[in-house]
């Protein structure tokens, strides 16, 4: 079969040891002819050093305001196969667990109705099917729905929540990340499908402070597992580690609060001074385990640079007893979330992330608005400038 477009620049990227995306696009084109035009246009971008997509564009399915990203080629006559090249976002299975039966059916759908290309996964966590036209969107949506899968978020809505594998396959997990992730996705389906916020809002869940879904940097509301009581120490295993490497230098000396030491042969931890950073547990997993009183911290406001600069999540709730709340269908966290969204709705402006709103109105106003008290865990240190706004209720 002759090639429709010559792609000398892209062909270079079929060489080398790392698996080649060019090869993947070619394989997709074998099943879904239109994708040859994608190769052609990307080759042209490689030549011109600019992208050749038109700005934005609407695409979607009936009844939803979200779930698809519209994309149109700048050169529809030259590349008719990607005149319309929309992508559809699909809520993944929590923890990204699948079986071969489902994945094969999804591959079939992508080849039958779209360009035969998929993203496993988008950065937010969605499965994405690439390269469909608006006319095909409904068919793809229904085919996916028959497999029991729904569309994900896009635009100014609740984006698709995601989580680390947590208790399914990690001994460090302090709470059931997959369960709460699925529960809150179900709870807020309407907010996810029908954009009604000032801007996007993301949830992410990590079972411990290693934060394997990078929730502290990539979600407006980050849930990071932690514990309250003492780290459990198996002194025999500590001794085994001491035979293998310099535990003093690489574990104790690196503890950020210097709260561990040896008394004779025994490792001692001053748990009141431990900030649950995970370092010692990462290094000595057979010897050390988190305590039994487990839950998570909640951090708020992380976002990328635009418009007012990047933010990391900041501590809002040091210990949320998620295991207890799970017994009440997560009532406590849902009421906190609804307070937050009401505040954001009332005081936020269009395209303002919640972190930017907090920056603009001040954390105190936000805390008052959502009904939380200020506590020292929220700050790195107290203010060092004296421009204090005393309020009426203090002047007695």
């Amino acid at each position: 079969m002759g090639k429709k477009h010559q792609t000398p620049l892209l062909d270079e990227l079929k060489k080398g040891k790392w698996i080649s995306f060019v090869r993947e696009i070619e394989r997709a084109a074998e099943k879904s002819e239109r994708t040859e035009d994608l190769l052609g246009q990307v080759e042209e971008s490689y030549h011109d050093k600019v992208n050749h997509w038109k700005h934005g564009g609407m695409a979607g399915v009936k009844g939803y305001g979200a779930g698809m990203v519209g994309r149109f080629s700048e050169y529809p006559d030259k590349y008719p196969g990607i005149k319309e090249c929309h992508s559809m976002r699909i809520i993944p299975s929590a923890g990204f667990f699948y079986n071969s039966d489902f994945l094969r059916k999804l591959a079939d759908i992508s080849e039958k109705h779209a360009g035969g290309l998929l993203n496993f996964h988008g950065a937010t966590g969605n499965i994405q099917i690439l390269g469909m036209s608006q006319a095909e969107a409904e068919d793809v949506f229904q085919a996916v729905a028959e497999l029991g899968f729904d569309l994900g978020g896009s635009g100014s809505d609740l984006r698709t929540p995601s989580c680390c594998a947590g208790q399914a396959r990690c001994e460090f997990a302090n709470f059931d990340t997959m369960k709460i992730c699925r529960h809150l996705t179900e709870e807020y389906l309407d907010e996810l499908h029908r954009p009604a916020f000032n801007y996007k809002f993301k949830f992410k869940f990590s079972g411990c402070a290693n934060d394997c879904v990078a929730s502290a940097a990539r979600s407006d509301l980050a849930f990071i597992g932690t514990w309250k009581d003492k780290i459990k120490i198996n002194q025999e295993e500590v001794k085994n580690y001491k035979k293998k490497f310099n535990v003093q230098k690489y574990v104790l000396d690196k503890c950020p609060t210097k709260c561990m030491w040896f008394e004779g042969e025994n490792l001692v931890i001053d748990d009141e001074n431990c900030v649950k950073c995970m370092h010692c547990i990462n290094e000595l997993p057979k010897a050390l385990k988190a305590g039994d009183e487990r839950g998570c911290s909640i951090l708020i406001g992380a976002k990328a640079p635009l418009v007012t600069g990047p933010r990391m999540g900041m501590m809002l709730v040091p210990f949320y007893d998620v295991n207890e709340d799970a017994k009440n269908d997560y009532e406590w966290i849902k009421s906190l979330i609804s307070n937050m969204w009401e505040f954001w709705d009332e005081y936020g402006v269009s395209r303002e992330r919640i972190g930017e709103l907090i920056g603009r109105v001040g954390l105190n106003t936000f805390l008052e608005g959502i009904g939380l008290e200020p506590i020292p865990e929220m700050v790195e240190h107290p203010r060092s400038n004296p421009f204090i706004k005393f309020t009426e209720d203090e002047e007695e």
Partner: protein, 361 residues
């Protein structure tokens, strides 16, 4: 047609029940794992309190994959894993194996098919990346091509455990920074260097002027009258070429073949282990786009990695290593020039100055 019963349209069905996809050993030991061991850079084993074992083989993926790729991994999962597999948060594929005897044959099959096994331990993990020229209109560079070029060069670090700690590399094709570039050990970010062009005619029809003005981080967009009609002008003195205005207004395109390229950032992390999460900081302000192989970017990443490997202590992430040796030394040993662009002048940027007499002389 008329007599055909109309099928009910399915909507709002929500997330699929993940329990359906958990293998028996995971279901039985959910929340009851005792410890894990990394057997080699492609394999780990999790041991449950019950004594049950679960082996995981991790495989690299280009993230953008074909249906045929999906069928390949399904065939492997059927042959060795009872059809069970998962993807990681860095878009790797993981095969979940109950019978230890299946581990080596599975890896051999993958290698025979040309797939990459690795990515566990003190390695360079898969590069979290974005859409690029393959699918996004605001891209200043291509994601997949840069990632492929860098991973080809760093391949040995994906398949062998040879670094002081794990190194996370991330890529974003514009300042929207979809993904995790703002907090990675090494980040590669698409960058423009010229202000947007304004198409006054289209702007009137296509853009909402107040939201375009509000999109600008440096207040460089002002209302303007063009031929007696409403429009905008851009203060080119203060514009930082972020492209945010183009995101909201199609009539302000900013892509530019000669002046678009990539910047390199270092020292970010999200984990809380030892030190708090930190942002990545600027190492190289600009490297021109040079497809298909981007040698400038590849060399810069290699330089950072080589110096890090030589200088860091076991367990030290890139940012922790730089904190210990100091930024002046980082620039000296990498040979990257320190320029005026490294000095933060965005809003409260002066908080990044050195307010002390501390200097490594």
């Amino acid at each position: 047609m008329a007599e055909e019963v109309k099928k009910k349209r399915l909507t709002d069905i929500g997330p699929h029940d993940y329990n359906e996809y958990l293998s028996p050993v995971i279901k039985n030991n959910y929340g009851k794992w005792a410890y894990h061991e990394i057997l080699d850079p492609g394999t780990m084993v999790h041991v449950a309190e019950s004594g049950d074992k679960l082996y995981t083989v991790r495989m690299g993926s280009p993230r953008l994959v074909s249906g045929s790729f999906v069928r390949d991994i399904c065939d492997i999962a059927d042959k060795y894993c009872g059809g069970h597999l998962r993807f990681t948060t860095r878009n790797n594929v993981e095969f979940l194996i109950e019978d230890e005897k299946n581990v080596e044959p599975l890896k051999k099959d993958l290698e025979k098919m040309g797939y990459n096994v690795g990515g566990i331990g003190n390695i360079v993990a898969n590069i979290v990346h974005t859409q690029g020229w393959v699918h996004c209109h605001t891209s200043a560079s291509d994601a997949s091509g840069v990632v492929k070029s860098v991973m080809d060069e760093l391949y040995e670090y994906f398949v062998e455990d040879k670094l002081p700690s794990k190194v996370r590399i991330a890529f974003a094709c514009c300042l929207n920074m979809c993904g995790s570039v703002s907090s990675s050990d090494i980040a590669i970010v698409g960058t423009h260097r010229k202000p947007p062009r304004i198409d006054a005619e289209r702007l009137r029809n296509l853009c909402e002027i107040p939201s375009t003005i509000a999109a600008c981080p440096t207040n460089s967009i002002r209302p303007d009258t063009v031929d007696g009609k409403p429009g905008v002008k851009v203060n080119e003195e203060t514009c930082v070429f972020c492209g945010s205005c183009y995101t909201v207004c199609p009539a302000m395109p900013i892509a530019n073949a000669e002046n678009d390229g990539l910047s390199i950032w270092v020292g970010g992390k999200v984990s809380n282990a030892r030190t708090k999460p930190t942002f990545s900081k600027l190492a190289i302000p600009f490297i021109p786009n040079d497809p298909p192989r981007w040698p400038g970017v590849v060399n810069a990443v290699k330089t950072i990695l080589n110096e890090y490997k030589k200088g860091a202590e076991p367990g030290e992430r890139v940012g922790e290593w730089i904190d210990r040796i100091g930024w002046p030394r980082f620039f000296k040993i990498t040979g990257f020039p320190f320029t005026k662009y490294h000095i933060d002048d965005f809003r409260l940027g002066e908080t990044t100055m050195n307010y002390s007499s501390h200097a490594r002389l």
